[in-house]
């Protein structure tokens, strides 16, 4: 176990020990170790790298450090910047998990139920990867979909997120009132400058799904220059459109579980857009 104090040191440590695994909050990694699923030869702890524990502003974007904890992202100052990511961070589990678990860890684990992931997908966030060859940038969806992978010695350093100055919503359906794993989740952001609605559905597939046609269709109906109002029927139809796109048929007859999941996604998408337009 090494504890580098900077990203450069971390990259050097990872390059020196190719078998080492980087660990930040450890809320996913250590659970896998304890369950005997993973036996890392060495660990590179990222907890002492101060440069990735905060955020900075960069021409209309926020450059979020991968070491930001869920607890930090859940606070009001962060919520004023990126409300949906803050809401996802607050929903990400009990306080013990939120205090330790990080944004970068959520992305690296890439669990289907990762709460930050649909929000990052909806925001079209870009990852700043640091490695032995310097920095490179890849869209978050490329990494989650496996189109691009981290190379040896590389780390997620930062996450670049646009500051949209418009309502954003994160909602999830779980089995209980207390913190729980998402059955389905939705991240939805409005982008008034581009007159767009962007939405991603989490937990129903291995990665967040973007219903692009539904987004474009509903964005064309919104009165962007006025009160951003939308008829209830259009909200309803948007929900159904999103659900049909994200929960495909698996042959006839449709299994009851699929029907319920589709209904859940439709309700979440409808409510998310409704809340975004009225807030």
């Amino acid at each position: 176990m090494t504890l580098p104090a900077s990203l450069d040191e971390a990259v050097a440590a990872l390059t020196a020990m190719p078998a080492a695994v980087p660990v930040a909050g450890g809320t996913d990694l250590m659970a896998a170790v304890n369950a005997g699923l993973l036996r890392p030869a060495a660990l590179v702890g990222l907890g002492r790298i101060n440069e990735i524990r905060g955020w900075q502003y960069q021409d209309g974007h926020a450059l979020l450090g991968a070491g930001l904890t869920h607890a930090r992202m859940g606070r009001p100052d962060f919520a004023a910047l990126i409300p949906a990511l803050a809401a996802a961070a607050r929903a990400a589990g009990p306080p013990q998990i939120r205090n330790a678990g990080t944004l970068g860890g959520n992305i690296a684990t890439a669990a289907p139920t990762g709460d930050a992931l649909p929000v990052l997908a909806a925001l079209e966030a870009v990852l700043v990867i640091v490695g032995p060859g310097g920095q490179r940038e890849i869209p978050v969806s490329y990494l989650l979909a496996g189109r691009e992978m981290l190379r040896p010695g590389e780390l997620i350093g930062f996450v670049r997120v646009p500051l949209l100055h418009a309502p954003q919503v994160f909602l999830k359906a779980t089995g209980r009132t207390g913190p729980g794993r998402a059955v389905a989740s939705v991240g939805l952001v409005l982008d008034p400058a581009r007159r767009g609605v962007r939405c991603a559905i989490g937990a129903v597939a291995p990665m967040p799904l973007r219903p692009l046609e539904a987004e474009q269709w509903v964005a064309s109906l919104i009165d962007w220059d006025g009160g951003r109002s939308l008829a209830p029927e259009a909200l309803e139809a948007f929900g159904e459109y999103v659900a049909a796109a994200c929960v495909p048929d698996q042959g006839e007859p449709v299994a009851p579980g699929v029907l319920h999941l589709r209904r859940t996604v439709a309700v979440l998408a409808r409510r998310a857009l409704g809340r975004a337009l009225t807030s």
Binding site: A31, N34, A35, G36, A87, R90, A91, P94, L171, K172, A173, T174, G175, R176, T177, G178, P179, G180, R181, V183, P256, G257, L259, H260, R263, T264, V267, L268, R271
Partner: protein
């Protein structure tokens, strides 16, 4: 290290206001609460809240080795070979044991010895132990266990209990563990209204907060000592001794603090390998189970399939109940026969039913093992018969509470087993109390951001989609072992220089027995300082901590022993005064004669004396159910009525239990605060069974054996618990007239929650736990 109220700390999550505070006579007084009826706190509360209390997982011995158990990854397979050479050759490994190394009996079981210590020819469930390793480091032990090469031939698992009847025998004893065809009354009778229903109850796990752990220490005489959180130390000692091939007196079970137990602890699959490894290596051996091992190893609540047909007359009075009950035992019998007896006997609930035909089966499968979990049998049928009562009420257009009130059982009525209910049965009073209690206010007047909607704070819930439902559940449970079990407990009370000690092998699992024992001695002898001694098997047996038996049987034994000490203390004085001891009374630390002429303090009378007495308590005997399911099988019964108020988001199917109003038949309140904690704990466990707790399996393999996958209720899921009424009608045959209080809220809560969800959604809700897809509103609502 005697176990004390471990569960109280967890149940304190429910910050609720209850009617109890008003009934606590000691609350206003300055002095330390003492004696019966006072809220005496548990003696080890401080150590437990500060984290200094030593549980089995904290124990240490010089030179100890660490054990690991190899468990089956398959639900059903033939073992072709087991090769331990690689494991035994690993550096640091001190011993590897398999079935071939068991010197005594190769099968064991707390009730029926049908479970192998280590599987050798076949494995019958996921997680069945196959071998164990002792090594000088826990990781070495685990790696060595993983290095044992086992060659399996996979067999088709039988996972549907309905298929078990026709499947090849899973066990030499056959697949049918017990069949009870209860026949009571006239089978030809029919009612004017008939309702039918099919109900499914899931697999609840006891999920103790502290997973299984133990330390085995070899003794110089060739015996072994087992330090575990056993809830039935003498049975555990006997089965361990049989497997080790030792006399029972060479094995000593020492009970450490119990970190939560609502079912049988400890898992024999740990205790037996620990003892074998300690005997083999001559070193102390310790094992602390992972959460996964804990889920795989211990027994669960029986998943149950129930088919019901209720007949009633036009006024809603029950005419006949027909039922078929099929319980899934998993691979081994354990407590299944008793669970089935409870399910069949209470299949009609606390209602008067003139004709009943109930057929029950409990069968083997390759699913995870089932066993004693409090309220077993009674809880599954309660969910079903209360579902039937809701259906009848709907068919007749009656209010659910009214229909139930027309049928409730009272003292003197007959159970379908032919047994007369002789104990207090204030069912109507309980039901009226919860029905008439004020309903919780709707949140509509509070600011919107203060609403706690289904889905949680900042969740997806939307007020417009939330429907509120109110439902009822009435349940019953038996106390003490049934069907002729010899229920006996022995206790010793010792007084030295005014300080008393209770020696009794009744394990305090969190039910509060240690506190109760102190209260009894304080009451009888007037001493303040009472200690309960740690429990081990050198003491006389007190039986398992189950079915509320220690409140009754061990509490009775403690009272008798204390009274014998009292006689020894008062006899010389009474002799001197020329009166009988009955004319002297002990109160507020003073001994006074009936006429007030003589008076002294207890401390003075006890000074320099050492007084001992040992006594036994054995309640009146019971008899097994006969071929028609008839017989006086139960010593005592306890009842409970619950009104549930739930909010359901009918679009997402998410449920939040807003409030549970509880009225319970308790006989007599011995410790108000402890009683309140027991009821809140039971209710919360019931909420888990109703909404989230189900250990899922696929083809017999447990999915997600962890606390993320197995969703226990959190503080946000636990509802407000209003204890509306505690009916104190003393049960004359029970010591102090008190009834056990922990199990019956567990039995009743799931039925009440399901009833309320039915009212909110209009859906049938015939499966527990209630899945969101079953709680989305009916299409026409």
């Amino acid at each position: 290290m005697s176990g004390q109220d471990a569960a109280t700390a967890t149940t304190a999550l429910n910050t609720t206001v209850t009617a109890m505070a008003a009934t606590d006579p000691e609350a206003s007084e300055q002095q330390e609460p003492r004696g019966i009826g006072a809220s005496v706190p548990a003696a080890d509360t401080r150590a437990k809240t500060e984290g200094t209390f030593p549980y089995a997982a904290d124990l240490w011995a010089e030179g100890l080795l660490w054990a690991a158990v190899l468990r089956s990854p398959h639900a059903h397979a033939r073992i072709l070979s087991i090769d331990t050479t690689a494991a035994a050759a690993m550096p640091g490994v001190r011993a590897v044991v398999t079935h071939a190394d068991v010197p005594g009996a190769t099968t064991h079981g707390r009730r029926i010895a049908d479970r192998p210590v280590f599987a050798h020819d076949v494995v019958r469930h996921h997680g069945e132990p196959i071998a164990a390793v002792a090594a000088d480091h826990p990781d070495t032990a685990r790696l060595a266990a993983a290095a044992i090469a086992v060659e399996y031939e996979l067999l088709d698992p039988v996972t549907d209990p309905e298929q078990s009847f026709g499947a090849p025998a899973l066990h030499p004893d056959g697949n049918l563990i017990r069949h009870i065809p209860l026949r009571y009354g006239d089978p030809e009778v029919t009612g004017e209204v008939v309702v039918e229903g099919l109900y499914r109850i899931g697999r609840q796990d006891p999920a103790p907060i502290g997973a299984e752990a133990g330390l085995a220490v070899p003794r110089p005489d060739g015996g072994v000592e087992l330090y575990t959180a056993s809830t039935d130390p003498h049975s555990d000692r006997d089965l361990a001794a049989a497997c080790f091939g030792l006399d029972p007196d060479r094995v000593r079970v020492v009970v450490t603090g119990v970190p939560g137990a609502t079912a049988d602890r400890e898992d024999a699959a740990f205790q037996l390998p620990l003892g074998l490894l300690a005997l083999r290596t001559g070193c102390p051996v310790k094992l602390v189970a992972t959460r996964e091992e804990s889920f795989l190893g211990h027994t669960h609540r029986h998943p149950t399939l129930l088919r019901y047909r209720h007949h009633a007359d036009a006024e809603g009075r029950l005419v006949k109940v027909e039922a078929q009950i099929l319980m899934d035992a998993g691979a081994y019998a354990d407590a299944s026969a008793e669970s089935l007896a409870a399910a069949v006997a209470f299949a009609c609930g606390p209602y008067v039913v003139p004709h009943a035909f109930v057929e029950g089966w409990v069968v083997r499968t390759n699913n995870p093992p089932s066993g004693h979990v409090r309220g077993e049998g009674a809880m599954q049928v309660c969910a079903a018969y209360e579902g039937q009562m809701d259906k009848l009420a709907a068919a007749l257009g009656l209010d659910g509470a009214e229909l139930r009130l027309r049928n409730v059982l009272a003292t003197g009525d007959l159970l379908p087993t032919g047994q007369t209910v002789t104990c207090p049965a204030p069912v109507a009073e309980l039901l009226r109390a919860v029905r008439d209690f004020e309903l919780p206010a709707l949140p509509k007047d509070a600011p919107e951001d203060e609403w706690l909607l289904p889905g949680g704070p900042e969740g997806a819930g939307e007020p417009g989609a939330v429907r509120r439902g109110v439902g009822y559940g009435v349940g019953m449970v038996h106390m003490l072992g049934a069907e002729g079990t010899d229920e006996v407990s022995t206790a010793t009370v010792k007084v030295v220089n005014g300080s008393a000690t209770v020696i009794c092998a009744a394990v305090d699992t969190g039910q509060g027995f240690a506190t109760l024992a102190r209260q009894i001695v304080q009451e009888v002898l007037g001493v303040d300082e009472v200690i309960t001694a740690p429990v081990d098997t050198d003491q006389p047996p007190a039986g398992p901590s189950a079915h509320g038996r220690h409140t009754w049987v061990s509490g009775g034994a403690v009272e008798r022993a204390a009274k014998m000490v009292r006689t020894q203390l008062l006899q010389p004085m009474a002799h001197k005064l020329g009166m009988s001891t009955e004319l002297l009374q002990i109160q507020d630390g003073r001994i006074t004669s009936y006429d007030g002429a003589f008076s002294t303090t207890v401390a003075e009378a006890m000074a320099g004396k050492e007084l001992w007495a040992t006594a036994q308590c054995r309640p009146h005997p019971t008899e097994p159910l006969d071929a028609d399911g008839q017989g006086d099988a139960f010593v005592g019964l306890a009842f409970c009525a619950i009104r549930a108020v739930v909010d359901v988001d009918v679009e997402l199917g998410s449920v939040r239990v807003v409030e549970l109003a509880v009225a319970q038949d308790v006989g007599r309140v011995l410790n108000p605060r402890q009683l309140e904690a027991r009821i809140e704990a039971g209710v919360t466990q019931g909420v888990g069974a109703a909404l989230t707790e189900n250990l899922r399996t696929v083809a017999g393999l447990v999915r997600h054996p962890d606390l993320t996958g197995y969703a226990l209720p959190t503080a946000l899921d636990a509802p407000a618990v209003r204890i509306v009424k505690l009916v104190e009608e003393r049960d004359v045959v029970a010591p102090f007239g008190a009834k056990a209080a922990s199990a019956v809220p567990v039995v009743t809560t799931p039925a009440a929650v399901a009833s309320a969800v039915r009212a909110a959604t209009g859906r049938p809700v015939n499966r527990l736990p209630i899945r969101p897809s079953a709680a989305v509103g009916a299409p026409n609502s």
